[in-house]
């Protein structure tokens, strides 16, 4: 009994819990930065730079603007981080997930939304006009990527649920099992548009460069983060890193889950490799190649092009291809 609890605590805190999630997030972010730099012919920061940033932020003084609502201002980043870690625990990574429920896709979807909402609420509480504009842009970005995201999730759920009695599944465990029994989802021709759509959703959900309209440094002084400093800023930065891990791991679980060799270590290494490839495709390439989009461009892009890709997959899956 006590061993079970210890094991559970190990899962939550070490692997695949808090520690692993944070380390993976920092590494993926660092590698992404490095790759972007190399592609632009720069040397780039060290891979652990996000971690150094976090440590340095924690050592700095926290200044709370006089106009800010103190409690919300400090509480929002912390709650956002906690919510994100909880969401990460639902995602299986080389083995089963720590937490699971019959509808964990919807739970993850909502927890990710909650995390974004926390950054918005924090920005709102700071009382700065730059943060105000930033949060409105963040919200528009959220509306933009949510539609294709939902369509992708439905398409995968429908495909992986085709064996079950309900005909659709919202459970990541079922999706993983289905992929073990059949091929990984991405091997189905009909799902390739959805995978591409998901690759586009990832950078916008995280707020990476070509889609970082909410934090646009040159126009909005970091937008939602304008007034933040010290430890809360550090937590935001760390949340940002962890989001990279959560989204890439979600992609892996949805499209390339169920690949098992029987050895956990090898499985995890394979997954990490896949995460790296996803990071490269969805974040590094657009970052290195594109300039920042305008707000209305992001919205139009996601509601037409990306949604259309996801919808094609959904329709194809629905008619049984």
């Amino acid at each position: 009994m006590s061993f079970d609890i210890l094991w559970f605590a190990f899962h939550i805190l070490i692997f695949p819990g808090l520690l692993f999630i944070v380390v993976m997030g920092v590494l993926l972010m660092g590698i992404n930065n490095k790759m972007v730099a190399r592609m632009q012919n720069r040397v780039g920061p060290p891979i652990l730079q996000p971690w150094y940033d976090f440590l340095k932020c924690c050592g700095k003084e926290t200044i709370i603007p006089r106009r800010a609502q103190k409690f919300v201002f400090i509480g929002a980043p912390i709650l956002g981080f906690a919510v994100l870690i909880t969401a990460a625990l639902f995602i299986p990574f080389g083995g089963s997930s720590v937490l699971s429920s019959t509808g964990d896709i919807v739970v993850i979807l909502y927890l990710l939304t909650f995390c974004s909402v926390m950054s918005i609420v924090g920005a709102a509480a700071s009382g700065s006009p730059y943060a105000g504009v930033g949060l409105s842009r963040e919200m528009v970005a959220m509306i933009a990527y949510e539609l294709p995201f939902v369509l992708v999730l439905l398409a995968v759920g429908k495909l992986a649920g085709s064996d079950s009695a309900q005909g659709v599944t919202f459970s990541l465990a079922t999706i993983t099992e289905w992929q073990t029994a059949h091929l990984p989802v991405i091997c189905h021709i009909s799902m390739i548009p959805a995978a591409i759509a998901m690759l586009f959703v990832i950078p916008c959900e995280i707020g990476m460069h070509p889609f970082d309209i909410a934090e646009a440094e040159t126009e909005l002084c970091e937008g939602t983060l304008t007034e933040y400093s010290g430890a809360p800023l550090g937590v935001y930065k760390l949340t940002h890193c962890v989001k990279v891990y959560v989204m890439t791991a979600l992609f892996t679980a949805l499209f390339m889950g169920g690949i098992t060799t029987g050895m956990v270590v090898v499985d995890v290494l394979i997954k990490i490799l896949v995460c790296l490839v996803v990071t490269f495709l969805s974040m590094t390439l657009p970052h290195a190649v594109c300039a920042r989009f305008k707000v209305e461009q992001v919205f139009k892009f996601y509601w037409t092009f990306v949604s259309a890709l996801a919808l094609i997959s959904l329709v194809l899956v629905w008619i049984g291809l």
């Binding site: 939550i12 808090l18 924690c58 003084e61 926290t62 200044i63 709370i64 006089r66 106009r67 609502q69 919300v72 912390i78 709650l79 981080f81 906690a82 919510v83 909880t86 937490l99 429920s101 019959t102 509808g103 919807v106 909502y110 927890l111 909402v117 609420v121 709102a124 009382g127 006009p129 105000g132 504009v133 949060l135 409105s136 842009r137 919200m139 528009v140 959220m142 509306i143 949510e146 539609l147 939902v150 369509l151 439905l154 649920g161 309900q166 005909g167 919202f170 126009e219 010290g230 430890a231 809360p232 550090g234 305008k294 707000v295 209305e296 992001v298 919205f299 509601w303 329709v315 629905w318």
Partner: protein, 709 residues
């Protein structure tokens, strides 16, 4: 405790059959007593209102055990006019679990509104009229959900509509109050008359008005007339639930009615429409299983949901915005009800009760804001979190619930709705339901977006100098208590959905499917079998079941605490922090004058540079306006500290604007401008147009019903 309950039920015995009529009569009696003695003494009046609203609530609570848990049905013949042969002549009350479910919603909301009104309405005159009308309205609502007679439903709807009209116009001095009431009267009468026509047609065919008897004889008397009657009844009740295309009316009414009445309109009156729709579709006509009915009802819900949530984006008035969201949520309910599956109905009922809780809470907070500041204009309010922290917290709970964020109740019920719609989609293989799921999920995000706009423009952002005075402060405790009750229920329902499902949703949904029981209780055993109505297979709820949040909520809590601890340990200690702030303040005090002078110059330079940036189209013009206007405010605040500088910038003072309000979603609105312009055109606010939409809706429904039924 159980012993106490047993003793109570033993003591009451069969007298429990009288409880429903007691509950209705208490409210009506209260109305008449208030009309007589209300003028005499304020305390006496409030005590009477408190007593006559809490008694029906307690009576309904005491009915939970015999009806919800033991699965009984209470029938009561008024004046003991029991059926002769198989003909029901008198008026009967019939309370099954479905009726009781809505009865509980009504009585709870009425009780809460009554407490809230004591303080909220204290600045108005002739309150005895308010309470008389309010209690009449409550009695009508309760009567509507408890009655077993079709004509009685019509009578209650009439009382409801007319008292509602009077209450909307209660604050006559408000801009548009009379206009809103007039619109409600015209369109509401249209809806009531439609119901009456439907009842007349049914009576001409079946020669009875008793719900159970109609249900028993309808299956063998299906023809074009009953199909038309269905259409009339459906659209009449849909107009009471303010579904598309009746939704503009609700916005117009809710913007002007007192907030307490807004809560009744959007929280309870719409629920009565939903109740009546469930009653006619599931019990009376038993036609919800037909694909045509199911798909059209679900689509009606989806359309209402989407149109209203996008309309809410354009609103500048807090309460209008809430009103549109209210219909959007009712759209969710109707969507789930239209599925015709056990799980779908449970989801719909759950969202219905949740809607009463969170929408009630939001309307009450809107009322509190209006009470404190005298304004509901999103463009004028702002920064109230400093003035009204409790109201802000309550609003955030309500907003999180309505946007369906876990762990609040909106998430639990919306989650059930997604599941049930998708389940239906896979069962029938109909792609329409997939579109409906996507609309559901999208509307959820849009709801969230629009509540963030409200949060930003009412509670966060910058405090409007107009409200920066000591008179603007937190509302009295008496007003807070009802809001905290609702907020607490929002959280409880979200954390323990299994409990609610087991004791409330499943019995209510089972009752809606159990037509034979409904008929037999009223007209004697075996009537239903004689009429050829088969005991319907009561579907089992799929294994998906409810959402069980408790386990990982603990986890979330633990992680939050851990992160808090790290953050506290990691950051500098508070003492140093405080001194730093003090020092900063001192410095800013010292250089305050210089700052505001030099700051202005800097700002001019910065504005120029901003414009330079904007010329590259990085910042939109609108955003630029927002930023520069906010700077003006900042300057004004600085200038306010030193009166010397007030003289210079008076010209801008009336031009107060801030981030928030209508500007927040300009990117979204810009891309969707054709859609929004179209919407703006046909939500004209003209009662003639509203009536036309209503008549068109009747015509379309009539054609559909005659073609497909």
């Amino acid at each position: 405790m159980t012993q106490l309950f047993d003793q109570f039920y033993n003591f009451v015995g069969t007298d429990i059959n009288h409880f429903p009529i007691f509950a209705i009569v208490t409210l009506f009696l209260g109305a008449f007593i208030i009309a007589i003695v209300g003028k005499l003494n304020k305390t006496l009046r409030n005590v009477i209102v408190f007593i006559v609203t809490i008694i029906p609530f307690l009576l309904m609570l005491s009915l939970i055990k015999p009806i919800m848990i033991d699965g009984g049905v209470i029938n009561y013949w008024m004046g003991n006019w029991a059926p002769v042969g198989e003909w029901a002549i008198g008026i009967g009350l019939e309370v099954d679990a479905l009726s009781l479910f809505f009865g509980l919603i009504v009585t709870l909301a009425v009780f809460i509104v009554a407490i809230y009104s004591f303080t909220y309405m204290n600045r108005d005159s002739s309150l005895e009229n308010y309470y008389t009308l309010f209690l009449m309205l409550s009695g009508a609502l309760l009567g509507l959900v408890l009655t077993g007679d079709l004509f009685n439903i019509f009578v209650m709807i009439e009382i409801m509509t007319m008292t509602e009209v009077a209450l909307t116009a209660f604050r006559v001095d408000y801009d548009g109050a009379l206009e809103g009431a007039m619109k409600y009267m015209v369109v509401g009468s249209l809806g009531s008359s439609t119901v009456l026509v439907g009842i007349a047609m049914l009576y001409s065919q079946l020669h009875t008005l008793n719900l159970a008897q109609i249900a028993a004889s309808l299956p063998s008397h299906q023809n074009a007339v009953t199909a038309a009657a269905f259409a009339f009844l459906f659209i009449g009740f849909a107009s009471k639930a303010f579904l598309f295309p009746f939704h503009p009316l609700e916005a117009d009414v809710n913007a002007v009615a007192p907030a307490s009445i807004s809560m009744i309109i959007s929280g309870v009156i719409t629920k009565c429409g939903v109740y009546a729709i469930i009653r006619i579709c599931y019990i009376l006509f038993q036609n919800i299983e037909l694909p045509a009915v199911s798909i059209s009802v679900t689509l009606l819900g989806a359309v209402s949901c989407f149109i209203c949530v996008t309309m809410a984006f354009n609103q500048h008035n807090f309460r209008r915005l809430l009103a549109y969201h209210s219909i959007s949520q009712i759209g969710y309910v109707i969507m789930a009800v239209g599925l015709g599956s056990m799980f779908g109905l449970e989801a719909g009922l759950f969202h219905a009760v949740n809607h009463t809780l969170f929408k009630g809470l939001l309307f009450l907070t809107a009322g509190a804001v209006q009470y404190a500041t005298g304004s509901a204009d999103l463009d004028k309010l702002g920064g109230l979190v400093k003035k009204m922290p409790q109201t802000c917290a309550l609003f955030l709970i309500g907003a999180a619930s309505i946007s369906g964020l876990p762990p609040f109740n909106g998430f639990a019920s919306k989650w059930m709705i997604y599941q049930s719609v998708f389940e239906k989609a896979s069962e029938t293989g109909n792609f329409v339901y997939v579109i409906v799921v996507v609309v559901c999920l999208l509307c959820s995000v849009l709801t969230l977006a629009s509540f963030i706009k409200v949060a930003q423009s009412v509670f966060f952002g910058q405090l409007n100098p107009e409200f920066n005075k000591p008179e603007v402060h937190e509302v009295p405790v008496v007003m807070q208590i009802p809001m905290w009750i609702l907020a607490g229920l929002c959280v409880l329902f979200g954390v323990f959905p299994n409990f609610i499902q087991k004791y409330f949703l499943t019995p209510a949904a089972t009752a809606a499917f159990n037509v034979t029981n409904y008929i037999d209780t009223m007209l004697g055993q075996g009537t239903a079998a004689k009429a050829g109505i088969q005991q319907t297979e009561i579907g089992t709820v799929s294994s998906i079941g409810c959402w069980q949040p408790v386990s990982w909520l603990w986890l979330l809590l633990i992680i939050t605490c851990a992160v808090c601890l790290i953050a506290v340990l990691g950051s500098n200690d508070n003492k140093k922090h405080a001194t730093a702030l003090n020092a900063e303040e001192k410095v800013s005090d010292l250089v305050g004058v210089k700052q505001s002078g030099a700051g202005r110059l800097n700002n001019v330079a910065a504005d120029a540079s901003l414009k330079g940036v904007a010329s590259d189209h990085l910042l939109s013009d609108q955003e630029l306006i927002i930023i520069s206007r906010d700077r003006t405010i900042e300057d004004e605040v600085l200038a306010g500290e030193d009166p010397k500088y007030e003289n210079f910038f008076s010209g801008e003072k009336s031009e107060f604007s801030q981030v928030g309000g209508s500007d927040l979603f300009w990117g979204f609105k810009h891309d969707m401008r054709h859609y929004f312009n179209f919407q703006k055109d046909w939500h004209s606010g003209n009662v003639n147009d509203y009536t036309t939409y209503g008549v068109a809706a009747i015509a379309v429904t009539l054609v559909l019903a005659i073609l497909f039924l």
